[in-house]
């Protein structure tokens, strides 16, 4: 199996300190969290944590069991590709000028992105899609002078009823 990207969905009580406990389990076992998304679910007392870690196969068993020991953790599920829908959103800030304007606008149109704010030629571009798609957009815009990026990290939902 080797080192692969692994997505975990962790349902937890929506309480102070819970994220620190969850992150503590990853850290103690020596795993880095590549991306992390935390927000309230449809029930306000429960939060959904979606995390990505690059790890080998025993990661899931180890982390799942250790997370299961935390009182505030309700459920841990691995999100397997093909069984869950995955999306990431990023915001890109860049200045448009004579040199890059045309190519930048073409890229934005081609990938169905959106300029959500524009002030003195400085624009913020919204990109949403699979991880691959957003990476492609970044690779197109980067040579045109990207100033900064904010990304949500991957969100994932299992394609079955709960």
């Amino acid at each position: 199996m080797g080192i692969e990207e692994r997505i975990l969905e962790i349902l937890v009580s929506n309480k102070p300190g819970v994220l620190a406990r969850v992150a503590g389990v990853f850290g103690r076992l020596g795993y880095n969290i590549e991306s992390l998304c935390v927000a309230e679910t449809i029930s306000p007392e429960i939060s959904r944590i979606t995390s990505i870690t690059n790890a080998d196969a025993d990661f899931i068993e180890k982390v799942k069991k250790q997370l299961g020991r935390l009182v505030d953790v309700i459920e841990v599920t691995e999100q397997l590709p093909g069984q869950s829908a995955q999306r990431e959103m990023i915001l890109i800030g860049m200045t448009l000028n004579q040199k890059n304007r045309q190519e930048a606008l073409q890229t934005i149109a081609m990938f169905d992105c959106k300029i959500i704010s524009m002030r003195n030629n400085y624009c913020i571009i919204q990109v949403a899609g699979s991880r691959e798609e957003v990476e492609t957009v970044i690779s197109f815009l980067k040579p045109l002078g990207v100033d900064k990026i904010a990304r949500t990290g991957v969100l994932a939902l299992q394609q079955t009823k709960k």
Binding site: S13, P16, G17, A20, R21, G24, R28, E61, K65, Q66, G68, R69, L70, V71, D72, I74
Partner: protein, 567 residues
Amino acid sequence: MELNGSQILLRALMNEGVDTIFGYPGGSILDIHDELFKSSFKHILVRHEQGAAHAADGYARSSGKVGVCLVTSGPGATNTVTGIATAYMDSIPMVIVTGQVPTPFIGTDAFQEVDITGITRPCTKHNFLVRHIDELANTVREAFYIARSGRPGPVLIDLPKDVMRAMTEYREPVSPSQGSAEPVYLPDAGPLTETVNLIKKAKKPVLLIGGGVIHGRATAELIEFAHKVNIPVTSTLMGLGGFPGTDPLWMGMLGMHGTYYANMAISDCDLLITVGVRFSDRVTGRLATFASNATIVQIDIDATSINKNVLVHIPIVSDCRSALIQLNALLDRNGLEKIREGREDWITRIGEWRTEGPMSYCQGEAIKPQCVIETLYRMTKGDAIVATEVGQNQMWAAQFFRFDKPNTFLTSGGLGTMGYGFPAAIGAQVAFPDRLVVDIAGDGSIQMNIQELATAVNYKLPVKVVILNNGYLGMVRQWQELFYEKRYANTGIGGQVPDFVKLAEAYGALGLRAVKPGEVEATLAKGLEHPGPVLMDFVVEAEEKVFPMVNPGASLTDMKLSSGIGM
């Protein structure tokens, strides 16, 4: 009726059946002490908060109840951390209540403020910061539930001073919600039947037990099981007392300082059934050769213990007692007589190993520490609660005292905390005022919590401390002798400093000393007879070592049985 936070805390504790608290006052916890003063709780005032935590632990280990510890904020709270980590590693149910600065001051570096929930997050089963008085009663209920349920452990409640002083209408706490605590695990039928089939086929089976048998109160079921199918039993340090040390099937402890025959048997067995163990590195030695010929069945309540260090063939996630009850029931229908008879060759083989490498030592001019423990065992007939410190004293106690009943051996197995034994013995003596409680100590570790002599004297707790005084931090010195070419860096601690007899007298306890082998029995007799706390200083052979010994990382069959001889 309106009650303040302190009153609610005490009422909630009373609801959980608490009558004894180990603690030390301070600014942030004064309100609770003021209520305690008016209540019927027994509060044992220690001399250092670490002592309070270990005493609550000893109380819990000996009685099976949840130990409760009450300390102030800041240094009071941090002083309990070693005690909390000790309990966490050995799965001991405890509730620690710490005072905290008032909520508006949290995060301002206020006087005696520390983020104790942050500090103890990795060494508690769970912890709480109570921010509002309306959460208090439920928090206490939940804390006790978490401490006791599943694999037990310490739970900390951090209580800000303004919450203690706030008033609210008291409401009976509700039982904890399903989601927030572990369910009771019952075993699946499939693996149990498979285990029974393996038992029938096995020629060389071994039962390995651990602390889970004691926490799970499974001793009676275990004895029934072992005898039904005639399987020899060995144990980790934490499991001692879980199976009678005088039973013919008993092989003694295994592992780094286990018996020759237990280590040989586990390395040769074809079926290993483990009950409530987590396969510590001190137990397994080199993992690649650990029980490498055996099919392994692991019964444990904690799924994280399974396949963590040793890959097992049949995992059974279950409360130990429930699994053993079901195994016993399944075995009733089978030809037990035949199974039992089939074991004779194996039991004879273990008997031969026992003759080849018995537990022994050589008498000499000086007192041998093992002899002190054997004499203590003989004189008490084993009827005592024995606490230990950590190091050689702990290993000799585990090897030469035979524990027949659960909850009678109190030792820091996982964390290996020097200074644990004496306060733990105090806690056990509080739980059982009429029983004989002995702390087996070294001259190093006894000094780590020696201040608790004042506690023992003040409450007239007749704890007997047996100091095996070799003038060294003995186990570390043993490692220096064996692995660091006898460079005894910082392990010689002087032997006669302090003078333990005078020290005991200064505290108002009885101090006794023995320097010759002939004085051991008389000194123990005098000490055990004395109605109050006693410190017995046995000046023992300075360079005596603990054997057998498996070097760290070596296979269990690779044992040194005495200086210079390997087998």
